[in-house]
């Protein structure tokens, strides 16, 4: 079976700085893979590369991004655009800035459906109502007539999830979708993503810094640091028997409500320094090789 997403040896630079240093990862069809890393690891950059939303100053140096077996980087722009939002969708991090503030919710979902699925205005409205019901929004008709600022942050995130799954995508990139939410709302949103991805048969690349979130929703996981994959595997296996020192350090530095305070161990700065110097050494080797 072809993987929903297969990234092979992806290198991305911004100016002289390398952001991704040869990353490979796969998301099987229908699977949820966690992409874990701290700020600066390059995890959001990877998500944006898949979506074709890299900042203008970022350059893809080498590598392949295959979606259902077809390399997105070799595809014509028009062809790629047809996939985005329909076959490949995004759940963004910030529900506050990801909706158009001057358009009603109904118009925003309606536009999406009419554009990608060529639905009539009436059919789009009907479908939008169903979608909101699917994400457990109680009065869908009323919410469709509201502006984003008139609903809560948790509800905005639900609307964005509904939009992401609207066209039965094969792949959803979830970029820290619960980071800004309270824990009780986070749990509901995670439950929702799980339910919808099962119903729509979508694979999910779940980008997060939170090992707890990964443990709950991802079957497999990839640990990223300084644009390099340090460890990957089955989530249960990685969390129970982490092989890389960095993964072990992250776990030890995660405060746990079920354990006494004494068990907390911050990540040793020496480890971080060592990882960065390894990354820079790789850069030098690459430059030497290509020269």
């Amino acid at each position: 079976m072809t993987a929903a997403l297969a990234i092979d040896n992806l290198r991305i630079s911004i100016g002289a700085a390398n952001v991704l240093r040869g990353v490979s990862l796969e998301v099987e069809a229908g699977e949820v893979r966690g992409l874990v890393g701290e700020s600066g690891a390059g995890k959001s950059m990877l998500g944006r590369a898949v979506l074709g939303l890299l900042p203008a100053n970022a350059a893809i140096m080498s590598g392949h991004i295959a979606f259902e077996g077809r390399d997105l980087l070799q595809m014509r722009e028009a062809e790629r655009r047809k996939l985005l939002g329909r076959r490949i969708a995004l759940i963004p991090q910030d529900p506050m800035t990801s909706l158009n503030p001057v358009k009603r919710i109904g118009a925003q979902i309606g536009n999406l459906l009419r554009h990608h699925l060529k639905l009539s205005k009436r059919a789009a409205l009907q479908r939008a109502t169903e979608l909101l019901t699917e994400v457990a929004i109680r009065e869908p008709q009323r919410v469709l007539s509201l502006y984003p600022h008139e609903i809560s942050g948790g509800m905005r995130q639900r609307v964005l999830i509904a939009m992401a799954f609207a066209c039965d995508p094969a792949l959803v990139i979830a970029d820290e979708p619960t980071t800004a939410l309270d824990v009780t709302v986070q749990r509901q949103v995670l439950q929702l993503v799980e339910r919808l991805r099962l119903r729509h048969g979508s694979a999910v690349l779940f980008i997060t810094h939170d090992l707890g979130v990964v443990a709950k929703i991802c079957r497999s996981m990839t640990v990223l640091h300084a644009g390099r994959v340090l460890e990957e595997g089955d989530t249960a296996e990685v969390l129970a028997h982490p092989r890389h020192a960095y993964t072990r350090a992250l776990l030890a530095a995660t405060p746990r409500a079920d354990r006494p305070a004494e068990t907390l161990r911050p990540v040793p700065p020496a480890l971080i320094a060592q990882l960065w110097s390894e990354a820079h050494r790789l850069d030098l080797l690459d430059t030497a090789r290509s020269a």
């Binding site: 701290e38 700020s39 509201l146 600022h149 008139e150 609903i151 809560s152 942050g153 309270d182 824990v183 009780t184 709302v185 986070q186 749990r187 509901q188 995670l190 439950q191 799980e194 810094h209 939170d210 090992l211 707890g212 979130v213 990964v214 443990a215 709950k216 929703i217 989530t235 249960a236 969390l239 129970a240 350090a249 992250l250 776990l251 530095a253 995660t254 405060p255 746990r256 409500a257 079920d258 354990r259 006494p260 305070a261 907390l264 161990r265 911050p266 990540v267 971080i272």
Partner: protein, 285 residues
Amino acid sequence: MSEILLRTANLRFGYPQRRSLFGKAAEREVIKGVDIAVPRGSVLGLVGESGSGKTTLGRLLVRLLKPTSGHIQFDGVEIGELDDAALRPLRARIQMIFQDPQSSLNPRLRLGTTLTRPLSAYGRLRGKQDRRARAAALLSLVGLPVEFADRYPNELSGGQRQRAGIARALALEPDFIVADEIVSGLDVSTQAHILLLLKELRARLGLTMVFISHDLSLVRVLCDDVAILYHGEVVEYGPVARVFASPQHAYTRQLLAAIPLPDVEPGWLDDSPPVVKPQPQGSAA
């Protein structure tokens, strides 16, 4: 029984609502009769979700806000009613560390100046030499290199900026500190360092603290007692060990259950417990 440094009794606060032309200004009450007592040298965790009133309560405790009614007693003195002039000597003893050091440190001042400004405001500096020495002492207290005195906030990482925020709060050698969500924006690795720094400073300087957070796991690391705030009221209050071992209130149990622990737990995503949430008042947002 240790001495209580800070105590509130039936503390209430409401934000004024828009008033009609001749009507009395209505108030939206966000703190609804809070009683807490913080023993000297202890750390109280104040936990709640957005809209619970935890930040408002923190601001009342440091008297950035004036209570609508009720009492705040600091070291035996009633401070709820004091005006700015009367508060001034106390302000040196009560400090706050803010959530976002990016916006709470002046971007145009070198760290050395920012750190020693509270000292000069209280006339506790003796010349340039003293300023440099004090800045260096504060920086090393929070584990930053002394050369950072010449740096600007934007030259620091998030964790370093938060250390600077802590150093500034410590400049006047306060006995009481309110820390409002000071690690929520940080990476896991940095977060643990800052938590342990606070722990160490507390032991070394005998600080009394209120640690505000939405995250119960952080509270477990640092605090002796915890108060769970829900819709402006304390619904659960007690020693950390007791509250974590046997939470009494349904909301506390719900908060604890919602924390995703880094263990695989099949079924965690299945059941959807009905969520008790504070009802937003006024706007739907």
